[in-house]
């Protein structure tokens, strides 16, 4: 950048130097293509031969992409269930209104068509502003990166979740961590009256970089996690300390807990979904049609926001999940380009004639 700004100066000085080196006696400017503004150049003109083919080709290409996207999107099977518990007849109504911890409710649903391919399970929230500026900045990346000093001395940005009332440092600190999504799900396939648990795999649901680079537990040789986190307190809303998030898998604890990582990757928009689990085991590549039961450990309050909670099952394709928008946008814009191409052609023909008459 600096070079750009000093370009004229540099060139000036270089000509000055050349003057000295050549022992130039006169003030005659250098006769170079650059100084004389005669650099070889291509002067493109938006001629009809370029513009019209451009519009037709882009129109066709975009329509093609649009059709492709729409077909792909339509081939994706997606299944969404809301479980906020607002309606009276909702199974989770009780849980939603009684704020007891680990309230359980179940959700029954039917899959009419068997789902082919690997299926992913997401939870979704609406009207939840993870992108709020104050919320977004309420975290301490140094603490989360495992720097020991910041473990005990969280950054000011975590306020008011920096220290608890007793002035103990909170780990992990900040609003994002504090509002960690803590509903839990178990899925059962209703196999002719017999509930067969569908295995859910929670490994590698977060980004590799988050898991291995951005987040890491503070290291201290010869100590286990609970020792390392000694002197810190868990976030106010949490029921379990951070080193004890996953009792089944000791490696999935601390700042690198996968669910925690997914939560910490804040959403761009107020309605969002986050990956919860991969369907694994027997059902990993095929979910038969039929009735399923979802057992929900209902903890997370969204009723007041007012927001909704959902679970989503979906397959993925090369373009990701189901989304009609992009395909339609491509189709519409491609068609517009095509139409525009015709309009331009007509206008051109009309004015070309006028001009010819003038000449």
């Amino acid at each position: 950048m600096l070079i750009v700004f000093f370009l004229p100066h540099l060139l000036y000085f270089s000509s000055y130097w050349s003057k000295i080196l050549k022992m130039k006696k006169d003030n005659k400017p250098d006769n170079t293509a650059f100084t004389q503004q005669r650099l070889p150049a291509w002067q493109p003109v938006l001629s009809v031969g370029i513009v019209l083919p451009l519009f037709f080709i882009i129109g066709l290409a975009f329509i093609g992409i649009g059709i492709g996207l729409l077909i792909t999107s339509n081939n994706i099977q997606e299944f969404e269930e809301e479980y906020t518990g607002i309606g009276d007849n909702s199974n989770c109504y009780i849980c939603a209104n009684n704020a007891t911890a680990n309230c359980k409710c179940t959700l029954n649903f039917t899959i009419a068509q068997p789902i082919q391919g690997s299926v992913f399970m997401y939870y979704g929230l609406t009207n939840y502003y993870q992108n709020h500026q104050k919320y977004l900045s309420s975290r301490d990346d140094q603490q989360l990166a495992g720097e020991t000093y910041y473990l005990k001395n969280p950054s000011q940005s975590c306020k008011p979740y920096q220290m608890d009332i007793n002035n103990n440092p909170i780990a992990p600190c900040g609003s994002i961590a504090n509002s960690f999504f803590n509903d839990a799900f178990a899925l059962y396939y209703n196999n002719q009256g017999f509930l067969d648990e569908v295995k859910l795999d929670g490994s590698a649901i977060a980004w590799w970089t988050d898991h291995n680079v951005k987040f890491s537990n503070p290291s201290q040789t010869g100590s286990n996690l609970s020792q390392i986190f000694e002197g810190t307190v868990k976030p106010i809303n949490w029921s379990k300390p951070v080193y004890n998030l996953d009792v089944n898998n000791p490696d999935n604890n601390g700042f690198i807990n996968e669910d925690f990582l997914v939560w910490m990757r804040t959403a761009a928009l107020p309605d969002f979904r986050k990956l919860y689990r991969r369907i694994s085991g027997n059902y990993s590549s095929f979910m038969p049609s039929g009735n399923y039961t979802l057992e929900i450990t209902y903890n997370y309050p969204v009723k007041d926001l007012p927001g909704k909670k959902k679970v989503i099952f979906s397959t993925v394709s090369w373009m990701g999940g189901k989304n009609q928008f992009l395909g339609i946008a491509y189709l519409v814009f491609g068609s517009l380009c095509f139409v525009m191409g015709f309009i331009l052609l007509i206008v051109y023909a009309k004015y070309q004639n006028v001009e010819d008459n003038d000449d």
């Binding site: 650099l39 500026q133 000011q156 008011p160 970089t209 804040t266 309050p301």
Partner: protein, 1248 residues
């Protein structure tokens, strides 16, 4: 000869065309005519007190004691400086133009920079960002660009200041001899003090304002060249006081010199000085004639001595400088207004979003339990804080790098001007020079050019072109037998050992006639030229060097010399010439010199054989009145004069008369009597001269060409086709100016010329009509009706005195006196004010009418105008036409005009430097103006406009995405991009391509720009950058930001990645929008680039590559490990950009942003093509044509008679100096060095 008769009978009521109105520097008291005193007692007393105060103020309080340095330190000369620190009021001779030294550079420069609104604004932002409640962006987003901007400016200032330091040092360390301890010792300029006696040698610069004490020349004359001061290249002489001349020649005498000089305080008037020298109990008056001014150069004088009166900052040259007006371009003003508009917009948007935030807070925020600010501010207070937060994040709407980028572009343009080979004048080795780097694009908007004549349009070189002898015209291309041929080599004068190599004459017939003495009249003709003049001669090692009072005279004498009639030497009363080999000495009985009334000069000579003859040369009108009735060839010569005049040559009639001995005796007695008469000697002498200059016999006429600079008519024609109006403002006489107007094709025979009276009449009629109209229709809308009807071309030729008369200029001065009189009562005061107001109104109307009328004319020539009037005319046009003006000139008399006009151009390569020093652009030839305006000006304007339009666009497109995002992030002032992207967007990712477009773009090349001057018109009308364009950029930016936000928004509504992970996180969204933005804006500038060099291609693709490169780097694991809290986007780029879905989003976004632009551009080109588009369409054809032919421009000569009825454009010659013998050396044989070549410069007397 209607014109001449009018000239002859200048009646007392009308202004005199011949006189310059009044001196530039006339002070109030010189101008004010005594007002009739009122009998009112009170007024009388007031007046008296005023009168008493004035002289006391003017008294000579500046005292200089020679050879006494302690004198300056006397307590009475101490002046309070800072606090109680006292300092002598006499400045030292060191000059200081630099601004900083090593210690003060940083604080002073920063202070200076923060005075600029933009920088201060960003500093304020920076402070806002530090406040935690408000801070929405980390400090570095503003600091990095700000430091870069400040740094670049600081480096530029530093380089400039170092250059000034060097200059100062060079000047301050110049050496000169000063008397110290009774001896001349070498001293540096900066150590010279007031009261020192200095010794200067030939070709030395004068170090301070000096009183000339003595010199080695007779009568202590001292020749100086004042080029740096007033631009005049001819030598002037100064003379020491008689007493100092006689008593201060030796070093010892000078060392004992102890005079006390009392004079006026330092001032800036170059032409006036009064003082008294007290020495040996006598006092001597000192005036300007005794003063040598700093900046002049000693010429032609071996050694001279002077006493320092004013030093350093007190010198007149320093007092004259430094008043330079800071010029700014229209675009600058526009740009500032736009920045203010943006600023207003910023506040509006921020306020709107803040209100939105307050509502959001009320509706949603209070329920959002996950949001906890840790305080209990009310929603409205929260909204108020958010307002500042938005001010911070939307600050990029006001582009921080705008000003510095604009400066860089202008700097580049200036270098391109400096580098242009086609504006380099090889003969004088002068390239064009852009002296200011801030005005380039204004060059593309010029509507009026004000040009000086001498030295600008003309070369100020006179060449002997033609002559008419005995009714026969010579000077064409003729063979020896008189036949006219097309091409012939110049006459060979090598037989004449006095001939000059550079004299070219093509008439072999005349040469032949002289050589073989065919006609005695021809000899007589050249003899006259060799004898009748006031030229002085110097023998410089076998070579003759002439010093003439005017270039005309020099040309004539030198022509005679080449033809074999060589003026060799003169004494007080003899003149020696070599007539075709034989040396003859004539006794000069009398010299009847020129003046502007007589328009002729004569010499009365006694031939060696005792015959007395009068030779006379003069303006044809004057001579024809005094011819003998029997004189021959009257009619033939008259016709020849007409022909010469048509060819715009300057003519002169030559004649002689034989005088009898008795007749001469009688006349001589009268002459002697008149020359010693005390009362009105001039008039008496004129009367005596008149008596003898009659019954003359015509010999012939000469024709001298006032050489135009190369390519002047072509340039003027081309500029006229670009609808640029050219006004000539000159101090020359009306006839000269008119003549030049014809020869440079500003005027032609179809043009109807209007002079002063006509103008006044028309203006009066208009004034009268208006008064009548007012009675009939008050409040009706003004309708503009032209002054001149018909299709004929009109031209205005007006003199300075008429200008004053028409525009009531003088009244202003008198009014000041009016105010001094105490009004008797309230009513009188009121009526006085009323009258003043009315007068001002009338004056304003007159001025406006005059400008309207002048602008209707195709050409305007103002002659006999003072420098001040030149500036006034420029100002009138600026004021009433709101047009962009350019003034071009070469001399000191143009300085005022150059400084007043929007753009000042100085002709460099001349000796004088004043015009160049105060100009904005300087080059060696008038014709380069064409290239400067039509090529460089046009390009600069187009580039700057393109740059600004795009710059505003790209910042809107960039910033407004935040605005759209607000609606989905709770109006929380959350940015839509990563912070580092915001930091680097303006400095790295998007600036290089547009900067290069600003530097290199050209829609059509220089040849086509010159060939189609109409391409210049959009600039004059300011079509390429105005509020319309600004709003188009704004809407374009809004459109782009809309697409850039909402397409990704749609794509992110509901999505997941290829491998099931949800890429709908904020960071991926930021990367998607940023990538789409970078690709869009870089492709957009590609669409706007019309001249694709490899640098452009490199920069566009480079910018995109740099964006991705840096992004991947910032998002890499390594940098996060090093700075976890500064780089939080770890892994986003590789994760997000591996999703084809996001790439498809980016492609669609870019496509929607750009395709409509392409369609619109194409439609615009088809439906309403601009001039440039039309040229471009046929570019190939034109280029082919260009290669094939280069048509010569044919010059058309006028048909009807035009007379150049003037003699010389100068006043009196050297006759006085010659006759008094003052300049004649006591030792005439001493070799004298060359002063200057005849024809290139001349020696003029101070005729006052």
């Amino acid at each position: 000869m209607e014109l001449n008769s009018r000239l002859g009978s200048v009646d007392s009521l009308d202004p005199n065309d011949e006189d310059m109105p009044y001196s530039d520097d006339e002070t109030e008291d010189e101008l004010e005519s005594p007002l009739p005193r009122t009998d009112d007692e009170q007024n009388r007393i007031n007046q008296e007190t005023e009168d008493n105060q004035v002289p006391s103020k003017k008294d000579g309080t500046w005292k200089v004691k020679a050879n006494d340095r302690h004198f300056l330190e006397l307590p009475e000369f101490k002046k309070k400086h800072h606090f109680c620190f006292k300092k002598s009021k006499y400045a030292g001779n060191a000059i200081k133009t630099y601004k900083y030294n090593a210690l003060t550079f940083l604080p002073l420069n920063l202070l200076e920079q923060f005075k600029r609104a933009a920088n201060a604004y960003f500093l304020a932002l920076l402070i806002l960002q530090v406040i935690p409640q408000i801070s929405t962006l980390p400090w570095y987003t503003t600091l990095v660009p700000l430091i870069l901007v400040l740094g670049i400016t600081a480096v530029k200032d530093l380089v400039d200041d170092i250059a000034r330091h060097k200059m100062d040092n060079e000047i301050n360390n110049r050496k000169c001899d000063v008397i110290q301890n009774e001896k001349f010792t070498e001293s540096k300029w900066m150590n010279i003090k007031v009261g020192d006696v200095v010794r200067l040698k030939k070709n030395d610069f004068i170090p301070a304002d000096l009183l000339l004490l003595s010199s080695t020349e007779p009568n202590s004359l001292c020749y100086v060249e004042t080029a740096e001061l007033d631009g005049e290249t001819n030598l002037k002489f100064k003379m020491a006081l008689k007493v100092t001349d006689e008593h201060l020649q030796q070093e010892s005498q000078l060392a004992k010199f102890d005079a006390l000089l009392e004079c006026e305080e330092p001032n800036n008037r170059l032409d006036k000085f009064t003082g008294t020298m007290m020495w040996r109990n006598q006092s001597f008056p000192v005036d300007m004639n005794n003063i040598l001014l700093r900046g002049c150069k000693i010429r032609n004088t071996d050694i001279c001595h002077g006493l320092v009166i004013y030093a350093g900052a007190d010198t007149k040259i320093m007092r004259n400088g430094g008043k330079t007006r800071f010029k700014r371009t229209n675009i600058d003003y526009l740009m500032n207004y736009m920045v203010y508009t943006i600023f207003g917009l910023l506040i509006l948007i921020s306020a709107g979003l803040a209100i939105g935030n307050a509502f959001w807070q009320e509706q949603i925020g209070t329920n959002a339990w996950y949001l906890n600010y840790g305080n209990d501010y009310t929603p409205s207070y929260q909204g108020f804080l958010t307002f500042w937060g938005y001010i911070i994040i939307l600050n990029t709407m006001v582009p921080i790098s705008l000003y510095v980028s604009v400066e860089v572009i202008r700097l580049g343009q200036s270098h391109f001007i400096n580098w242009d080979l086609q504006m380099y004048y090889a003969e004088k080795d002068t390239p064009a020079k852009a002296r200011t780097t801030t005005l380039n694009e204004q060059l593309g908007q010029i509507e009026y050019i004000f040009s000086d004549k001498t030295g600008t349009l003309t070369q100020n070189i006179m060449a002997f072109k033609k002559c008419n002898i005995n009714g026969k015209t010579y000077g064409g291309h003729c063979r020896e037998d008189g036949a006219t041929v097309d091409r012939i080599h110049p006459v060979d004068f090598s037989w004449n050992r006095y001939s000059e190599g550079n004299f070219k004459f093509y008439d072999h017939c005349l040469h032949h006639s002289i050589k073989y003495e065919k006609e005695p009249e021809i000899w007589e003709f050249f003899k006259l030229l060799a004898l009748c003049h006031t030229v002085m001669v110097e023998h410089n090692e076998e070579e003759l060097v002439y010093q003439a009072a005017s270039p005309d005279e020099g040309a004539l004498v030198s022509a005679a010399r080449n033809f074999g009639f060589v003026f060799l030497a003169r004494t007080q009363d003899t003149i020696t010439i070599n007539e075709m080999g034989s040396v003859n000495t004539y006794e000069v009985l009398a010299m009847l010199d020129f003046n502007s009334d007589r328009k002729r000069m004569s010499v009365i000579l006694r031939y060696p054989d005792g015959k007395i003859r009068l030779y006379c040369k003069g303006a044809d009108t004057v001579i024809y009145e005094r011819l003998h009735p029997d004189a021959k060839n009257i009619k033939d010569t008259q016709e020849a004069l007409d022909v010469f005049a048509n060819e715009t040559l300057r003519t002169l009639c030559l004649c002689y008369k034989d005088i009898g001995e008795e007749e001469y005796e009688i006349w001589d007695r009268k002459h002697k009597a008149a020359s010693i008469s005390m009362a009105d000697r001039e008039a008496a002498l004129d009367k005596v001269y008149e008596e003898i200059e009659k019954n003359l016999f015509l010999i012939g006429a000469t024709a001298i060409e006032d050489k135009l600079q190369d390519g002047v008519p072509e340039t003027i024609a081309k500029l006229a086709r670009a609808e640029i109006k050219i006004w000539v403002l000159t101090g020359d006489k009306k006839e000269t100016a008119e003549n030049i107007g014809y020869s440079c094709q500003l005027l032609d025979d179809d043009t109807e010329i209007h002079y002063g009276e006509k103008v006044k009449e028309l203006l009066n009629i208009r004034q009268e009509n208006r008064r009548n109209m007012e009675v009939v229709t008050t409040g009706k809308q003004k309708r503009y009706d032209p002054f001149f009807s018909g299709n004929k071309k009109n031209a205005l030729i007006i003199t300075g005195s008429w200008l004053n008369d028409i525009l009531h200029e003088k009244k202003k001065k008198k009014k000041k006196k009016l105010r001094l009189r105490r009004p008797k009562s309230k009513e009188e005061e009121f009526s006085q004010q009323e009258a003043k107001y009315k007068e001002d109104l009338i004056k304003e109307q007159l001025q406006s009418d005059f400008v309207d009328m002048a602008c209707e004319c195709s050409a305007v020539v103002c002659c006999r105008v003072t420098p001040k009037q030149k500036a006034m005319v420029v100002n009138l046009v600026k004021k009433y036409k709101k047009a962009v003006t350019l003034a071009i000139g070469d001399g000191a008399n143009d300085v005022n005009m150059i400084k007043t006009a929007d753009i000042g151009v100085g002709i460099s390569g001349q000796e004088g430097m004043q015009a160049v020093m105060s100009s904005d652009y300087a080059f060696a030839q008038f014709r380069f103006l064409e290239r400067l305006l039509l090529v460089h000006g046009r390009w600069s304007y187009i580039r700057m406009c393109k740059f600004l339009r795009y710059f505003f666009y790209k910042n809107f497109a960039f910033t407004l995405v935040h605005f759209w995002y607000s609606f989905f992030s709770g109006f929380s002032a959350q940015t839509a991009y990563e912070n580092w992207f915001i930091t680097l967007y303006n400095v790295l990712y998007s600036s290089l391509p547009v900067l290069l477009v600003g530097l290199l773009d050209q829609d059509v090349n220089d040849k086509l720009s010159l060939r189609f001057p109409r391409l210049y018109l959009p600039g004059q009308k300011g079509l390429l950058f105005n509020y319309t364009n600004f709003f188009i950029s704004l809407f374009h930016g809004i459109f782009t930001s809309l697409i850039i936000f909402f397409i990704p928004y749609g794509a992110f509504l509901q999505t997941m990645g290829q491998d099931g992970e949800a890429p709908s996180d904020y960071q991926s969204f930021a990367v998607t929008t940023a990538s789409a933005l970078i690709i869009t804006v870089n492709l957009q500038i590609s669409l706007d680039t019309s001249y694709w060099t490899f640098i452009n291609a490199f920069s566009v693709f480079g910018s995109i590559a740099v964006y991705f490169g840096i992004m991947f780097d910032i998002h890499s694991a390594g940098i996060h490990v090093l700075f976890p809290s500064a780089f939080t986007f770890t892994g986003v780029a590789p994760n997000a950009l591996r999703q084809p879905y996001l790439w498809l989003t980016i492609i669609l976004t870019t496509g929607i942003c750009l395709m409509p632009v392409i369609a619109l551009k194409f439609l615009y080109k088809i439906i309403k093509p601009s001039e440039g588009d039309k040229v471009l369409k046929n570019r190939k054809k034109y280029e082919k044509e260009e290669a094939l032919t280069r048509r010569p421009v044919s010059l058309r000569r006028g048909g009807t008679a035009r007379r150049s009825a003037y003699a010389f454009s100068h006043g009196k010659g050297y006759a006085d100096l010659i006759v008094s013998g003052q300049s004649i050396r006591r030792k005439p044989h001493a070799p004298r060095p060359a002063v200057s070549r005849v024809g290139e410069s001349s020696l003029a007397t101070q005729t006052s």
